[in-house]
């Protein structure tokens, strides 16, 4: 039982990274119709950014959280303005390929500058300890990550469902053509939404920095799992991204706990089952399936 609780917490923390990043991927896809391959690289940049910030200025985790997130927002805005924008009218495959090229570029750039070995990063002050609940001892940082990402996902949810900006973005996600016809300037929201999605990936990276190894390749497998997450959740669906993110995190953690070395295969088995039973994903709309 103790082990089970620990795996669950691990899974929720892991799922938090996936959910946050997948949320960014889903929002970008919804509004721009772009599947951002470089999402994993942006997640990596977030973590590397936090490590470099610590090394260069001594600013720790709590400062890195807002600074790197804002920096990644700017990076996303630039990427959209300079590159992604030119291919928006074409088939989404072209932006998929474009962002793949950007991924190769970024990963090898970081590798060339900072090497392949992991950069050092510590658990943030105040979250180094463990929390004992009965007989179970849990890492307080994992609790923080699980809670923080749930709260953040809820905050984004509120932003999207309870504010005017959210309504516009949702309308654009739902049906960009019709929103335009109703007088919403969808084009104006494209750039900030892209930046927002990239910022979420960067934020997930900063959150990951204290627990995982920070290196140029950390986003390489992350992006594949993110794709599995959005296929499971349904690519157009924001709720689907979050739920599937946590689901995949739990599957991976239980898998590591109980199934050992083949645990990562479980995620893809889950994906295969979803494709067989509900091709449009758990929360995807049926029409997008065929």
């Amino acid at each position: 039982m103790t082990a089970f609780i620990q795996y669950t917490l691990q899974g929720l923390a892991l799922g938090g990274f996936y959910a946050l990043a997948a949320l960014g991927l889903a929002v970008i896809f919804g509004v721009l119709g772009v599947v951002n391959f470089s999402h994993g690289a942006c997640y990596m940049l977030g973590a590397v950014g936090a490590a470099v910030l610590l090394d260069a200025t001594g600013l720790g985790f709590w400062a890195a959280l807002p600074i790197v997130t804002v920096a990644m927002f700017v990076f996303g805005v630039l990427m959209e303005r300079l590159l992604v924008r030119w291919l928006l009218r074409l088939d989404p495959l072209y932006n998929f390929l474009l962002t793949f090229g950007i991924t190769l570029f970024l990963v090898d750039l970081v590798k060339r500058r900072y090497g392949v070995s992991s950069l050092a990063y510590e658990l943030p002050a105040g979250l180094k300890g463990r929390v004992d609940i009965g007989s179970v001892s849990l890492s307080s940082y994992q609790i923080f990550v699980a809670a923080f990402s749930v709260v953040l996902c809820l905050a984004v949810w509120v932003l999207l469902t309870r504010t005017r900006i959210g309504m516009i973005v949702r309308a654009a996600t739902e049906d960009a053509e019709r929103s335009r016809a109703l007088g919403i300037n969808v084009g104006r929201w494209v750039t900030p939404v892209f930046g927002f999605g990239i910022a979420l990936a960067g934020l997930a990276g900063v959150l990951r920095a204290p627990t995982g190894s920070v290196n140029a390749d950390m986003g390489s497998f992350f992006i594949i799992i993110l794709f599995a997450v959005v296929v499971i959740g349904g690519l157009g669906s924001i709720l689907g991204a979050v739920v599937a993110g946590f689901l995949v995190g739990l599957v991976e953690a239980y898998g590591q706990g109980y199934a050992g070395s083949f645990s990562q295969v479980l995620i893809f088995v889950l994906m295969a089952v979803v494709i067989l039973v509900r091709p449009s994903g758990l929360f995807g709309r049926e029409e997008a399936a065929s």
Binding site: L109, E177, E287
Partner: protein, 342 residues
């Protein structure tokens, strides 16, 4: 917004269908020149590199069969290339059969893997197809990484022998001879792709690419055709991957990793989608470039290839072969027009 995803894939194809369609003579000249280049390659280029170019060329053609002729972007073709590389290596090492037989075994293994993958992947189209194939390829990578007893895990399979009956000593003595022993397999693959594209089956594929709903209405089982071409494409990728692993004498996880899937898409797009001959052009450029960069000690090849990819997708979506063909076609047309005017 999602509407465009469920419809066909609007890849920009060369506008001119074929220059050689009405000029059979030109076609034979082109074929002869191509064959001559292939046979002369190891005289001018370091033979193992020439072999790499040939293998990557067939690999790119296998991707183009899906992307250019059926409108499906497979972002997981490394799974078939790599599965065949490992299977070929295992057969050659443990059974000791001549290497062409081992390569054939590898290609069959790749096709067997493609059957369930294709069955699942064709349920989605467009960008989803790319993501699903990518994810399944990653699953194969994980399995190969964990299944150490068979695949050697991170060390890979080493010391794959080049067996060929009485000629074993000859092809082991110099990569130059191995090139000529292995090139028929690659040419066979290219011929197969050419036959597929120029067959009634190939016409149905193009119909599916251009208008799946109409192809369905005409009574074609679109999903079945897609699965069939997916399996055939995996077989070609398998032939290429098998030759590659025998040529190098090892099969490693590098063959299965998703950057390999991405690299072959880069090669295909660089050469020109939907042209078949673009694959070899792209392969020659990318392999030679990487060889040059690696031997000059530059680390960070991805910075260059990534930047090339970005430029191509932004500015040269027809690729080298496609752009050249369109340019030549436009020139021929304008010349004909001036002649008619006179």
């Amino acid at each position: 917004m999602s509407q465009q995803l469920v419809s066909k894939v609007d890849v920009e194809l060369p506008s001119e269908p074929s220059l050689t369609a009405r000029r059979p003579f030109l076609r034979w000249v082109g074929l002869a020149v191509g064959l001559l280049v292939v046979l002369a390659l190891p005289w001018y280029i370091y033979p193992p590199v020439a072999m790499d170019i040939a293998a990557w060329a067939l690999f790119a053609i296998s991707v183009d069969l899906l992307l250019g002729y059926t409108g499906l972007l497979s972002f997981g073709h490394a799974a078939f290339w790599g599965t065949s590389a490992y299977t070929t290596g295992l057969i050659a090492t443990h059974v000791g059969l001549p290497f062409p037989v081992a390569v054939l075994g590898g290609a069959i293994a790749a096709m067997l893997l493609a059957l369930p993958t294709g069955y699942l992947a064709v349920r989605r189209t467009g960008i989803y197809f790319a993501m699903v194939t990518l994810a399944f390829a990653q699953m194969v990578y994980f399995i190969a990484n964990q299944w150490r007893d068979v695949t050697g895990g991170e060390n890979g399979l080493q010391g794959i022998p080049k067996n060929l009956g009485g000629m074993t000593d000859l092809i082991n003595s110099d990569a130059f001879y191995f090139y000529y022993a292995a090139i028929p397999i690659i040419l066979l693959g290219v011929l197969l792709a050419w036959r597929i594209v120029n067959s009634p089956f190939g016409r149905v594929l193009v119909a599916i690419r251009d208008n799946p709903a109409r192809a369905r209405a005409l009574g074609y089982d679109v999903e079945r055709y897609k699965i069939m071409v997916f399996v055939l494409s995996a077989g070609l990728a398998g032939l290429a991957g098998g030759v590659f692993s025998v040529s190098h004498g090892f099969a490693s996880l590098q063959e299965l990793v998703w950057t390999t899937s991405g690299k072959v898409v880069l090669v295909t797009v660089l050469g020109g989608i939907g042209t078949l001959w673009g694959g070899p052009v792209g392969a020659a450029l990318v392999v030679l470039l990487e060889d040059r960069l690696a031997s000059s000690g530059f680390n960070g090849i991805g910075i260059i290839t990534g930047a090339i990819f970005v430029v191509i997708v932004l500015a040269f979506r027809h690729g080298i072969w496609g752009t050249a063909r369109n340019g030549l076609g436009a020139w021929l047309r304008s010349r004909r027009r001036t002649r008619e005017d006179v």
